[in-house]
Structures are given as structure tokens and as C-alpha cells.
């Protein structure tokens, strides 16, 4: 049993409505990179990574493709995929910061091994810890009445967890939006806010005091990702649980955040942690430190979202954020769905996803083994 080739593909997935990210400007399409691992005995495995993640991980589509073709792919060719523990260890440190490339390959390897063993990937991760996958939804920037309408619509659709993007100036605009949303959804729906690093630690402490009446479930990444002292200060000076997102870029970050009690919760994403195995390890470290988790994703296609969903089934997490493949004009992957606030996967072998490879653009194949 050997991996005979690593095929790399590209496809842009246009969004029905472009979204704004504070750092990225308008995003009109997800620029996805797909990989397919082929074996000498038939089964194959698929992985996906968002290419235009420059504002999140520093990745670009070309960089992800090049890292797979030049550095990481050759490490897998000729190897037995069932030795995935050793294969993944070999990928570590091969390219510094190769988040998307490593995540796509890790995903494909898990998909392949699940197919070889005839089990869904969540079974490889230890079995299900939950029966259903209730996802949150995000309310992006906009006026209070629009935010309230959007929130009410999500709740009517079945969502029980909402997150409002905040960090507008002056702060009163945030207060007005958060109040409008809380009034629209009532006290029983979980409401959180995501600052995407918009505040200083001093601002955060003052602002969160003002937000206490709105019963926030958590506050995500209030300060700059590098400002761990500030993040810890905020955590110590508010009763509202604080979640790290951008501050989690690696297992090393997870260790420091848990060891030094910097935050109360971590937002874990495959693309930040190098894939499924990395996310599992990060969750384990978080649990040793008593931190709770959100398992989420960046906006990406249905294959990557299904991989996040398998992790969410098998890893103990307080919150899930699995709406990343919503609003795509088309998606070559099928098998994952998010309906009425609840995510579902197809429980076939591997990731349970069917990928229409004919709709992807081939950009290269690795067939030779690493030479040194």
C-alpha cells in the first residue's frame, strides 16, 4: 500500500454576496486549493484549503500550490498512508508556516485512511462525543436595524448561537447593534461578539463593562493577536469569557495560552493548526489547561467544512462555527449540509464527501519521492 501521486487542483468558488473582512477588504470568491492522494491499491483521499487566506495565515493560492508540489507532496509519495502518524510528523517543520498546504494534505490523508479502514474520519478520532452539530452564525457589520433583522432571521431558521462582529468606532455603534440584536433574539439565544483584534486591552476592559447587560456568551479576540499580556489582562478583568482566535496560530500558541491562563476559550481551525491531527492535539492541550473550545473554520468549501465537522463530532467543544461553505454560487464538493442551524455530514468512509474533480483545474502532480 503506497501513495503513488499527489495531484493538486485550483478552483475559485464565487460568493453570492462578497463579504468584508476588516483586514482583507472585499472578498468575492474563495480561492481554493484541492489535493488528491492516489494509491497503488485504488482508494484516494481528498483535501481542501482556502488559498486567499493572506489576512489569516499569510497563505496565497500560489503559495499553497507551490508548497505542496515542491516540498510537502514529495514527502508523501512512496509512503504507506496507514503510517499517518509518522507521515504527518515528517511534514512538520518541512516548510515554516505552511498552514493551508499542510492542512489540505492532512485532510486528504485522513480521508484516505478512513476509506481504507471503511470508517468515517470521526471514528478515527475516537468516536462521536455529541449527537448533533449546532452551528453559530455571524452578523457582519451594518446598521443596528439590519443586524437585528438578520439575527431574527437566523433564529427563525433554527440557529441558537449568534456572533456579532464588533469593533466599530465610536463604540456606541457597537452598543447599539448588540442591544438591537439581543432585543430581537430574546434571552434564550446564545450571543457573542467578535472583535477581530479591534481594541486595546484598556478599551476592552472598559467596553466590556458596558456590555455586561447583554449576557454575552464570550468575546472573541478583543486585542491584537500578539498582545498576550493584554489578552490576559482582559481575561482577568471581566466576567465575560474571553476567546482567542487570531492568537492561535500553532500548537505552541495553544500551549502558551493554556499554560499561562491567557484566555478562557480557544477558537480552533484546521487551517491554523495544520489539519485534523493538529487540531486534535491542540484540543487535548487545551483540555489539560481547562480551556473550553470553539471548533470553527474560515470561509471555505464543503470539503474543508466537512473535515471541520468530523472534528466537531469527535472533539469536546462548547461552540461550533460551521457555516463557512454557506453562500457559495457553486461547490464541487457535496456531502456536507447546514440546515436550520444544524450541520450534517454523510457518514460514508473517510470525510463522506463526493468531490467532482472534473470541475477543478489541475495545476500539478507529484509522482516522485523526496530526494533530500
Amino acid at each position: 500500500m503506497k501513495i503513488t501521486a499527489v495531484e493538486v487542483y485550483r478552483k475559485d468558488l464565487p460568493l453570492e454576496t462578497p463579504f468584508q473582512h476588516f483586514a482583507s477588504g472585499s472578498v468575492r470568491a474563495l480561492e481554493e486549493v484541492y489535493v488528491r492522494l492516489l494509491t497503488d491499491e485504488g482508494p484516494s483521499g481528498h483535501g481542501e484549503a482556502r488559498g486567499n487566506s493572506h489576512y489569516l495565515t499569510g497563505d496565497t493560492p500560489d503559495r499553497v500550490v507551490a508548497e505542496i508540489l515542491q516540498h510537502l507532496g514529495p514527502r508523501l509519495v512512496g509512503r504507506d498512508p496507514r503510517d499517518w502518524h509518522a507521515l504527518l510528523a515528517d511534514l512538520d517543520g518541512t516548510v515554516v508556516g505552511a498552514h493551508g498546504a499542510r492542512s489540505a494534505l492532512d485532510m486528504a490523508l485522513h480521508d484516505l485512511v478512513g476509506r481504507l479502514h471503511g470508517v468515517p474520519v470521526f471514528e478515527l478520532l475516537g468516536g462521536a462525543v455529541r449527537e448533533a452539530l449546532p452551528s453559530n452564525q455571524s452578523i457582519f457589520y451594518g446598521p443596528p436595524d439590519a443586524a437585528a433583522r438578520q439575527a431574527a432571521a437566523y433564529v427563525a431558521d433554527g440557529f441558537r448561537y449568534l456572533k456579532v462582529r464588533a469593533g466599530l468606532r465610536p463604540f456606541q455603534r457597537d452598543v447599539d447593534r448588540i442591544r438591537a440584536v439581543r432585543e430581537a433574539i430574546g434571552p434564550d439565544v446564545s450571543l457573542a461578539i467578535d472583535l477581530n483584534m479591534a481594541w486595546t486591552a484598556r478599551e476592552a476592559v472598559a467596553h466590556l463593562r458596558q456590555l455586561e447587560p447583554f449576557d454575552l456568551a464570550y468575546v472573541e479576540q478583543p486585542v491584537h493577536y500578539r498582545d498576550l499580556a493584554g489578552l490576559r489582562h482582559v481575561t482577568q478583568h471581566t466576567d465575560i469569557p474571553i476567546m482567542a482566535d487570531e492568537s492561535v496560530q500553532s500548537l505552541d500558541d495553544v500551549l502558551v495560552l493554556a499554560r499561562d491562563r491567557v484566555v478562557d476559550l480557544l477558537h480552533l481551525k484546521l487551517i491554523k493548526l495544520g489539519g485534523i491531527a493538529g487540531l486534535w492535539r491542540a484540543a487535548a492541550v487545551a483540555e489539560t489547561g481547562g480551556l473550553e473550545l470553539m471548533i470553527g473554520q474560515t470561509n471555505e468549501g464543503g470539503l474543508a467544512t466537512a473535515a471541520a465537522a468530523h472534528c466537531a463530532l469527535a472533539v469536546k467543544a462548547r461552540y461550533l462555527e460551521l457555516y463557512g461553505s454557506e453562500g457559495l454560487v457553486e461547490d464541487p464538493a457535496s456531502g456536507f449540509a447546514l440546515r436550520h442551524g444544524v450541520a450534517t455530514i454523510t457518514e460514508g468512509p473517510g470525510l463522506g464527501v463526493t468531490l467532482d474533480v472534473a470541475r477543478l483545474k489541475p495545476v500539478g502532480t507529484v509522482t516522485g519521492e523526496a530526494t533530500g
Partner: protein, 367 residues
């Protein structure tokens, strides 16, 4: 696929010649076995050492009761796919009792891997390739016997040896460590294990005195719960410490990391509460860039096989899996050490099953 039945058995495994521990002599292993049966007839087995009162306060009767009264209801009648949820509930249903949890966790893993038709090490992503070093232990006894035994282990292929220390007067320890080091030469890795025998002050002085014999590690110098004492010793000596009795739960592990108390985790399924928790401890060790050793109590082949499978799917510095040494008649056939390196049984799941006729039924619960 549902778990239809859980059965618990006990077995007494006499040891020849037995071994001395600082609390007394152990002449037999009193083991507890778990068998799970799924609705399609597939079975999964688990085993743990029962007579560990000197080590963890656990006993065969206590383990059987924990399984019967608290843990069995969490798995019997439940789909196998939900085993992660069941294991997550163990700690909420019952504090401590890691051995009972380990027996059931091992049986769940065996069943899952057997159902998929793959060896457990493969199920966990491991491989047989390569040579994973094993270690052996020199129990209490005269210095010349320890030296002779050490040479015998080296002749068998072992490159890593551990000497039990903690005797009074301390000169006895010094004599044994010196004799062993002189007998095996400088190429063999040597550690000492004090099994909590020392105070912090004694530990610092005695480790300084033993460091001239080139120790790679000092295991559990002070009392299990004295984690700050471990840290104090660690700051005062050059040789890295290994936490054994200090390391049970995930919280223990993180506290040791926070205190910078150790260079090594000694991971044992029976302390961690099974494979799942052990893998989480390993994740922390790797994240914190600590070394870890995969070990076990003296226990039977089925329990030993579970640890060996995990060893092939992780990267321990070495293994300490000589637990079946001296068992006169193990109900489970096989061995995991060959010429000082690790081998595991091939075949689905753990690759071994015990001879049921040699086991004493304790109770069963059926859905």
C-alpha cells in the same frame, strides 16, 4: 453497531520470583479483565492490574465495583460510534478510579479496531517499522546481584536500564548504582526511580551524589502530591526528573508543565485512565517539548499489548513494557519485548485475547 454486553473477570497471575517494592513484596498480579460484546458478536477486551493499593489505592474489588456501579451503565446499550462521548463521561460519573476507566477504554479501543479489521496500532496511525527501544528495571537487592542482572539485560539487547533507589541508609543506593554503572559501562542509559522515597532536601542532596554515575533521569524522587516539591528539586539538580506517581490526570500534567517540574512524563494507561487520556497527555508532552516514556505496572500480556500498540503510534523516548516479566502462566499468550526492542502482536485490535477458562467471572451487564 451497539454494545450489547459488558462482562468483568478477575484472574490471579502468580509471579516467579516476584518483586520487592518499598512497601513490601508482590508475589502475584491480581488482574481485572473487561469483555465488551457488540450486537453483531464482535468482542473487545481490556485488562488492568488490580492489586495496586501501594501505588494508587486501587484494588481488584474496587475496580470491579467502579465498573459495575458507575462505568458499565455508560457503555452498555450505547452505539460503539459514541464511545468518545462515553469516555468523556467517565470522569464526570466517577472521580479517580483511573484503572477501572483504563480497562474499559482499552476494551472500547480493541472493539473499534477489531470491528474495522485492523491492528490497534494501525487504527491509531502507527507502524511496525523501525526499532523502538525498551528498558528494563533492577529491583531492590544486593549491589552485586544488581550488577549481574544489569549485564544480563544488556546481553539480551537492552540499552536503557533503571535502578530502584530509596533504601536506607543511602549508601546502599550509591553502592547499587555504582555497581550497575561499572558493570554496564558508559554507553548504557541509566536512570534511577525513587518511588517517592525522599524528602525534597534528601532528594537534592542524594541526586547530586548520584549524578557522578551519569544518570539520564531521576524518576519520582518525592511524594506524589508534592508537585511544588518536584519543581524545587528540578531547579536544584541538573538531571531531568520524571513524573510517575505525580502524573495521573490531565490537570496533573498541566500543573507539572506550569511548574517546570519535569523533563519526562511517565505515561501509563492504568494511571491516565486509558488510551484516550494517555494520548492527550502525550499531546501535552509534545506541545511542551517534554520527553515521555510509555510504561505500565507489572501486569498481564493483554494490558501490556495495549501500551505496546500505543507506543507504535506515538514517539516515546523509550518504552518500559517489561510488565509480563516473571508471570508464571498468563491467560493471554505472547510477549512484546524481543532483544530489547518492542514487537506487537499482529491481527485485528490488540491482536491477542485471553483464555476465558482461566478467568473468574465477576459480573455482567446486558442491554
Amino acid at each position: 453497531m451497539r454494545i450489547r454486553r459488558l462482562e468483568v473477570f478477575t484472574a490471579r497471575l502468580p509471579l516467579e520470583p516476584g518483586f520487592s517494592h518499598f512497601t513490601g513484596r508482590v508475589t502475584a498480579l491480581e488482574e481485572v479483565f473487561v469483555r465488551l460484546t457488540a450486537d453483531d458478536g464482535q468482542v473487545g477486551w481490556g485488562e488492568v492490574r488490580g492489586n495496586m493499593s501501594y501505588f494508587s489505592g486501587e484494588s481488584p474489588a474496587g475496580i470491579v465495583a467502579a465498573l459495575r456501579d458507575y462505568l458499565a451503565p455508560l457503555v452498555v446499550g450505547r452505539p460503539l460510534r459514541e464511545r468518545g462521548g462515553a469516555i468523556a463521561q467517565f470522569d464526570r460519573a466517577l472521580a479517580g478510579n483511573a484503572a477501572a476507566k483504563a480497562a474499559l477504554d482499552i476494551a472500547l479501543h480493541d472493539l473499534a479496531a477489531r470491528a474495522a479489521g485492523v491492528p490497534l496500532y494501525r487504527w491509531l496511525g502507527g507502524r511496525r517499522a523501525g526499532r523502538l527501544a525498551g528498558s528494563e528495571c533492577l529491583f531492590y537487592g544486593p549491589a552485586d546481584e544488581a550488577a549481574t542482572q544489569a549485564q544480563a539485560y544488556v546481553a539480551q539487547g537492552f540499552r536503557i536500564l533503571k535502578v530502584r533507589v530509596g533504601l536506607e541508609p543511602f549508601a546502599l543506593d550509591v553502592a547499587r548504582v555504582r555497581a550497575v554503572r561499572e558493570a554496564v559501562g558508559n554507553e548504557i542509559s541509566l536512570a534511577v526511580d525513587a518511588n517517592q522515597a525522599w524528602t525534597v532536601k534528601q532528594a537534592i542532596g542524594r541526586i547530586h551524589a548520584l549524578e557522578r554515575y551519569r544518570l539520564d533521569c531521576v524518576e519520582q524522587p518525592v511524594a506524589a502530591r508534592d508537585l511544588t516539591g518536584m519543581a524545587e528539586v528540578a531547579r536544584a539538580v541538573e538531571t531531568p526528573l520524571m513524573a510517575d506517581e505525580s502524573l495521573y490526570s490531565l490537570e496533573d500534567a498541566m500543573t507539572l508543565v506550569r511548574l517546570g517540574a519535569v523533563g519526562y512524563f511517565h505515561v501509563k494507561l492504568v494511571k491516565a485512565g486509558g488510551l484516550h487520556r494517555a494520548r492527550q497527555l502525550i499531546a501535552l508532552a509534545e506541545a511542551a517539548r517534554l520527553d515521555y516514556v510509555l510504561g505500565q505496572m507489572n501486569e498481564g500480556m493483554l494490558a501490556t499489548a495495549a501500551a505496546a500498540h500505543l507506543a507504535l503510534a506515538s514517539t516515546p523516548k523509550y518504552t518500559e513494557l517489561y510488565g509480563t516479566d516473571g508471570i508464571v502462566a498468563d491467560p493471554t499468550p505472547g510477549h512484546v519485548y524481543l532483544s530489547g526492542a518492542l514487537v506487537v502482536p499482529e491481527g485485528p485490535g490488540l491482536g491477542v485475547v485471553p483464555d476465558e477458562r482461566r478467568l473468574e467471572p465477576a459480573f455482567e451487564r446486558t442491554a
